[in-house]
């Protein structure tokens, strides 16, 4: 009798080991409804001071994209979709006049979030007025000297976002807002 009880207890122990964790969060099958690695999207406690604004619409990194994209209107140059291997989310790029907006989703594709805005021409500028083609000095005048310099870029970081200016021959050639992943 003792043996039977012990056996039953062992079996139950094997099956339910780890049940202390939340099932939805812990479910390992990488299906659309239960991504193995689905994690709550980090949300910045305070909004970053670096955000892109176009026609009065503000884009903050890691903000939910759909309501903002609706305000921006249909991207005149279309979109590009890049599904992750084995359906673990989709990255999308929306092509607007003068800038590209990048979003990501987790496994279920229900919500998408901004992770990059890339300025493509001098038809648009940063919220503080720096455009492609401006002198490097203007970047420093506008944003200050508190930047890190890497790979010919001046990188300004705040909260979950960074603003990067690529400088070639003293001029801004690329501007990009991007999300700092893992930053809360």
């Amino acid at each position: 009798m003792k043996m039977r009880i012990l056996s039953a207890l062992m079996l139950v122990a094997i099956i339910f080991t780890g049940c202390g964790k939340d099932v939805a969060e812990n479910s390992p099958a990488p299906t659309p409804s239960t991504s193995a690695a689905s994690e709550p999207t980090p949300e910045a406690k305070t909004k970053s001071k670096y955000y892109f604004e176009h026609n009065g619409v503000k884009i903050y990194m890691d903000d939910e994209a759909k309501p903002i994209l609706e305000k921006l209107g249909d991207p005149p140059f279309g979109t590009f979709e890049s599904p992750s291997c084995a359906f673990q989310g989709i990255d999308r790029t929306y092509y607007y006049n003068g800038f590209e907006v990048y979003t990501y989703t987790e496994g279920d594709d229900d919500k998408e979030y901004f992770f990059t805005v890339r300025l493509m021409s001098d038809a648009v500028s940063t919220t503080e007025g720096v455009s492609i083609g401006d002198k490097a000095e203007k970047v420093i005048e506008t944003y200050g000297k508190e930047y890190t310099e890497t790979s010919n870029q001046y990188v300004y970081a705040d909260q979950n976002s960074k603003l990067s200016f690529k400088i070639v021959n003293g001029e801004v050639t690329d501007i990009e807002y991007s999300m700092i992943f893992g930053e809360e």
Partner: protein, 364 residues
């Protein structure tokens, strides 16, 4: 009396173990009708003759872009692709280590796109690349190298401990494939015949640092060493996928690495015209991966390099191999026809469009 007790204990242990094994088989994801990429790693162990001239390791840029059937039909080269979804460099290293327990290929081809990652990304990808390995020290080391902080090593040894919570999500697929598996790939190649032309690609994002990371290099060094130790030629390859962007700075690092280590590095993006790729027709997802026609073109091109550079003999006259590969080719062409039929009937491929299946209430 004592003997009886021992027998009882042994019986109880055997029963519990059997139940646990059966439960584990039931609860582990099957990857048969959706996310089929997850079935690739395990499928290798069902291979009847584990003796290949060429072994591919890497991410989707190998298992979507090269066709072993074409390499056989055009050059008599036997090959297998041990690719996995977002297979990272350390996954590839341990997969190669495990593969070498079964066979010693003449050439190993490593897809260098994975060098862009220096740390584990998602548990789902770890699972798809590691769970299919038989239990061994190699598997344990693979898990150790790959785990995210929230993962437990014990769950790679006893996956039931990780998958037990799937009991409430079990589907008909889990019961149908409880004790058996369908063949998903063609020697590791995941076939897709659908077409989605490449259009405008996103502008490459700025990176803070274009150097590959130390961990990525550490495991590339280990792959190089493992190949040298076993007398295997290692080829580094950048497959002809247009996206994610392959930066010039990355390319140069691979050129330098290959030169330093006496390896062949081929960036097939430089040879798109020579390969004959037409990204209006040869890709199923706008340039990320090649479809069947693209993979066959890439394989013809790459097979010629393999043959001429490494003198891999044409084995098409070997009767035993001929029979084995004929069977493989038959299944390949059968699947090709089946996929065209699905495209005609549904407008898309069922195994690769879960969302549309849900919308259309289709269970593949």
């Amino acid at each position: 009396m004592k003997k009886k007790k021992i027998i009882s204990i042994v019986i109880v242990i055997l029963v519990i173990t059997s139940i646990a094994v059966l439960l584990q088989k039931l609860l582990m994801p099957k990857y048969m009708t959706q996310i089929v990429e997850g079935a690739l790693i395990k499928e290798y162990y069902y291979e009847k003759l584990k003796d290949h001239d060429v072994m591919f390791i890497g991410d989707c840029e190998v298992y979507e872009n090269f066709s072993p059937i074409t390499l056989w039909e055009e050059y008599g080269i036997t090959s297998y692709i041990r690719g996995g979804a977002q297979q990272l460099v350390w996954h590839s290293y341990y997969l190669l280590e495990d593969t070498l327990k079964y066979e010693k290929p003449d050439v190993v081809v490593f897809s260098v796109l994975a060098m862009m990652y220096n740390e584990p990304q998602r548990e789902a990808y770890n699972r798809m690349n590691i769970d299919g390995l038989p239990l061994s020290l190699t598997k344990i080391n693979a898990a150790r190298a790959s785990m995210l902080p929230e993962e437990d090593l014990i769950t790679y040894v006893f996956p039931l401990l990780r998958y037990h919570s799937r009991w409430s999500e079990l589907s008909s697929e889990d019961y149908r494939y409880w004790l058996r598996r369908d063949q998903i790939s063609h020697n590791g190649y995941l076939m897709r015949v659908d077409v989605k032309p490449a259009g405008r690609l996103p502008t490459p994002r700025l990176l803070d640092d274009y150097r590959f990371g130390e961990t990525a290099y550490k495991y590339l060094d280990k792959i190089t060493e493992l190949c040298k130790k076993n007398g295997i030629e290692l080829v580094l390859i950048k497959a002809p996928s247009l996206y994610p962007h392959w930066y010039e700075e990355w390319d140069q690092q691979m050129v330098d690495y290959a030169e330093k280590n006496g390896l062949l590095y081929i960036n097939m993006l430089d040879d798109i015209d020579k390969i004959g790729l037409d990204f209006e027709m040869d890709t199923y997802d706008a340039g990320l991966h090649l479809n069947l026609s693209g993979a066959e073109k890439a394989s013809r091109y790459f097979g010629n390099i393999l043959k001429s550079r490494f003198n891999i003999p044409d084995k098409r006259n070997d009767e035993k191999l001929k029979a084995i590969w004929q069977e493989k080719a038959d299944y390949y062409y059968k699947m090709e026809q089946e996929q065209y039929r699905e495209l005609e009937e549904y407008g898309y491929l069922l195994k690769f469009n879960m969302k549309r299946n849900e919308e259309n209430k289709i269970k593949p």
